[in-house]
Amino acid sequence: MEITLNVNGKQHTVEVSANTSLLDALRKLGYTSVKRGCNDGTCGACTVLLDGKPVYSCSVLAAQATGHQIQTVDSLGGQKTGWDFTLDLHPLQEAFVEVGAVQCGFCTPAMLLTAKHLLDKNPNPTEQEVRDALSGVICRCTGYEKPVKAVLLAAARMRGDEEKAHQFAAEVMPEINPVPQVEKYHHVGKPERKVDALKLVQGKPAFAEDFDMPGMLIAKVLRSPVAHARIKRIDVSKAKALPGVHAVLTWKDIPRVPYSTAGQSDPIPGPLDTFSLDNKVRFVGDRVAFVAAETEEIAEKALELIEVEYEELPVIIDPEDALKEGAPIIHDEPEYVNFGESDPKRNIAARIRIDIGDVEKGFAEADYIFEGEYEVPRAHQAYTEPHVTITYWDENDRLVVRTSTQVPFHTRRQLAPVLNLPIKKIRVVKPRIGGGFGGKQEVLIEDVAAHLTIATGRPVKYVYTDEEEFIAGRPRHHMKIRLKTGVKKDGTITANEMYALSDTGAYGGHALTVVGNTGHKAMALYVGDGEYRKHPNIRFYADTVYTNTVPTGAYRGYGATQGFFAVERHMEKIARALGMDSIEFRLKNAIREGEYHPFSLAWNEGREPAPETIETNALEEVVKRAKEAVNWDAKYGNPEWHKVPGKPHLRRGIGVAMLMQGTAIAKLDMGGAFIKMNEDGSFNMMVGAADLGTGSDTVLAQMAAEVLGVPLEDIIVTSGDTDFTPFDKGAYASSTTYVSGAAATKAAEQVAERIRIRAAAMLNARGDGEEVSPDDIVLADRKATAPDGRFVTLREIGFNSIHHENQEQIMGAASFMAPASPPPFAIQIAEVTADVETGEFWVDTLTTVADAGVVINPITASGQVEGGVNQGLGYGTTEDMPYTEDGQPLVRSFKDYHVPLAPEMPRLKTIFVETFEPTHPFGVKSVAEYPLNGVAPAVANAVYDALGASVDIGPVTPEKVWRASKEKK
């Protein structure tokens, strides 16, 4: 039927079916600012205003919207005509940019429209009203802290209340204890606006799916309904015969190449156990067939027409069952390629046995032995942009893969053998990414679209559905962890032992490295005190096993998250048993500056170990600031504080977790940068790094701008295109600011040197002063200035170098390999109120104090902390992905998987205690991962403090608290 839609005041006539959603109609009309997220009425990314009210356009039919005024984010602000699309921002857009409310930007149009509705209705909302209004838009990046403040800021400005506006703008800044080196910087350490924020608040077509091509086909995948089976028979003849279907592929049609989907450097540190399509399925949601058709409806119909006969096999759900004698073998394919100690006949994907020092001697020297068992769940990254890939042949017969990936270069390298194409025939383009958090450190769907493009010659688009994200994504590993710790009466740890049983699901991507980090990070923090510091006794054994559940992968924290839940619960129990202050006990045993990282001599992500010393560690100051911030001494151990006046069924509790992480993978992670100067004194900076919303493009530009003496707007950043940017290993392992930032700095220094040489020559040629040496030239304020104050502008240098004399392209190219993996250190403190009778509890505050080296951008860095805390809170309280005994996933969509929403966030506080890490030109360490890792154990410890309920299995739910309370009694 033909309908007319009024969008942003313009009438559009469009042909739709009875089933067409408003979302599809709007995107078909070119309104790509309306984002397709879960497409199921939960994430909120597709929000538009209908007669001024926010609605999910995926849940409204296009036909329902006729006769109504539809408003998208394109309508906000003034008229956008002419070349400059940055004019006339709406005060909300301006505020979002100003306070760093935009991270990945995928939810930003929805947030802006919802906020506009609120302010139209209520110009002076309270913070709680803002949070309630935003409750229907899931943001996984920001923890909602800065978006909420942005709305309050915009509201204040629109009311003309500058005092309040100033207050809200100031509230987004973290507290920082700076190092002296930062004082001289002009850009580093400053809250610069994100270089990509403008396009995102305007909803411009930046993301993978915001791109269309004529003749593009839609891909769909038939997925297994059973957890473990051989495909006895598959008949695709009816599907192939359906008009509009262009290809149907099964395992019989494509090369049988074993590979790993884990996006990692070569050689992949894990088994090669995956095929694009196979004659066996290993989990509910495993791939059975690919279809490419002219429309989504036809592709879905074709899937229904494929006939499959399965020979079902016994199923393993519990990882402990995987190791039992006679267990079904999940990987019996002869092509399986082992890595390290993987042993598919025993369902072992990876194995680690590390002994540091003499653990048994340490136990023998202990006054007490503490043992405990802990369990942590599968957890989904819950990025709101689904996986999206578009593939096509370009005019040079090269395969272009436009994909939502964190690892464009690994994707190119790993796809090549799977597709039987040379690397040089593939170009991978990373557009804007709508969050990843590790979930897109995976070559997960690119091969599907690519196989179908190869089969049809046509462009193909494949978008994961909400259900596919949950049943066939790559969530965090479920683990069971045993700990044994020897302690002396004075609280000195004499030996520490961990065994981790990690469930990799049906395939073993990241099987070794995730669990390796469980020990490498969480077991490295507590080395013991006194003589034990010099010779810590640590044992870390781990088995990663296959089960018939969703394959797991990388998720922010990368194994350390699981490890710290166990270790920090365990340390809490020990401290309390010894009658020691929880924080003081931890600090007494924590690793210190100048000491060896105990694991650095034993393990390095499946590669050669690289000995490392802790160069910087401000844990003592971190602890001091944290205790002050939460008034720890007035609360911890104070019975009066634990009472809630007038509510005898409630108790308050306070809990802590101490943390360390790493920064990149030492002696392996490498990234490159290329900078060239333009005539006007601006610079193009090409980096292979993949900004997935974290702000890495911005902080890399800040470092380059610092060296080149220009404002950030003069650095034009292009990132993540395998044809046009240098190699970078991608966005993972907390490496980008450190590795790619150092590369950008080195490249900028090369450029700066050429500028100084030319500037000196230009000044000396004038003959109006003393001879000046290039070494004396200072670059600042877009000028190259001599000690006597004479200067040439960078614009003059740009024109001079390109057009006027001794012509050259001023440029620099550099790469940087991580020489070490300097750990950031942190402490997180949770305060809760818990119900004695029901086990229900609310988290009231979460405080994070960290030594993350020099903070390049306080706004983006604190945004990383706040987002990580949001994910940690979900991990600790609501997020789980259970399975039935026959392998059916009980969580199949965002509707079943509750992530913390804006009104649910506790009060957040972030403090940075800076150190200057000497292995980096600007002294940085990583900031992104530890904020997630401590929340769950800190919350569990706070509940323990409130009720005495010791919950050792995550997430901490009311029933577990209730049961633990009963056990205590």
Partner: protein
């Protein structure tokens, strides 16, 4: 999948469409459930024709003597912003997020509800009555749930009526403030002393624990109602014990 879309101008026209044998035709209110990729189990899973109710004027919340009429297409956010009893407004508020509350209608929410829904639990406790076109037939919400589509086929909910003179309280336990609750207890008490307790948090529909002339035996009745309340989110034992606690609190909090 929707086979047809209709937007009638009158209730008679809508009812005529809904009464057709083929294709299966259902009312479309906000669309939060029917237009979703994954429809709730209570909503027909097959291909349907939809009848959009937006032009029928079925919104609004109006007092009528000792009763309050809630229009079928009034939104949950309308309930939140209304003068309805506080606990009912709270039930609508915690039912879902703001944007969904704008989208979800009261009738749609009740028809699509599972046993976890705080709003359906609350409305069942307060003994909400559905008025159905074409003949203004009255159906109690509690009667709807066992046979939803047998009752509704060919009919249209036009309004939902709740008493204005009953005291009402709601208590919940959830993993987080806006996540789906594990246990919901809704208690309504009329001036006569009649007390009605409904439990939610699991299953396909809310569970009537008691409807008696006074609250005596409320705790045991609640324990009994949660006897088989186990699912992957919580055990029956937990729900039984917590229901007793919440019933006690709700009775004390009646207002």
């Amino acid at each position: 999948m929707h086979l047809e879309y209709h937007r009638p101008k009158t209730i008679d026209e809508a009812v005529a469409l809904l009464a057709r044998e083929e294709p299966f035709t259902v009312p479309l209110a906000g669309g939060a459930f029917l237009n979703a990729q994954s429809r709730p189990p209570a909503i027909p899973q097959e291909d349907v024709a939809v009848v959009d109710l937006q032009d029928l004027g079925l919104g609004g919340i109006k007092p009528r003597g000792n009763f309050i009429d809630i229009g079928a297409t009034a939104s949950l956010q309308d309930v939140v912003e209304s003068d309805l009893p506080k606990a009912l407004r709270e039930a609508a508020h915690i039912e879902t997020t703001y944007t969904r509350r704008v989208l979800q209608t009261v009738a749609g929410t009740l028809v699509a509800a599972d046993g976890i829904s705080p709003f359906a639990t609350a409305m069942m406790a307060i003994d909400a009555r559905l008025t159905l076109a074409p003949n203004d037939e009255v159906l109690l919400l509690g009667e709807l749930y066992p046979f939803r589509w047998e009752h509704l086929r060919g009919k249209l909910i036009t309004k939902i009526t709740v008493p204005a003179n009953a005291k009402f309280a709601l208590e919940t336990v959830a993993p987080s403030p806006l996540s789906r609750p594990l246990v919901v207890v809704a208690v309504a008490q009329w001036p006569s002393g009649r007390t009605r307790i409904v439990l939610g948090g699991w299953g396909e529909a809310p569970h009537l624990a008691m409807d008696g002339p006074e609250p005596t035996g409320a705790e045991q009745a609640s324990r009994n109602a949660a006897y088989e309340a186990a699912d992957y989110r919580a055990s029956a034992e937990y729900r039984r014990e917590v229901a007793v606690v919440l019933v006690r609190r709700a009775l004390a909090a009646l207002e």
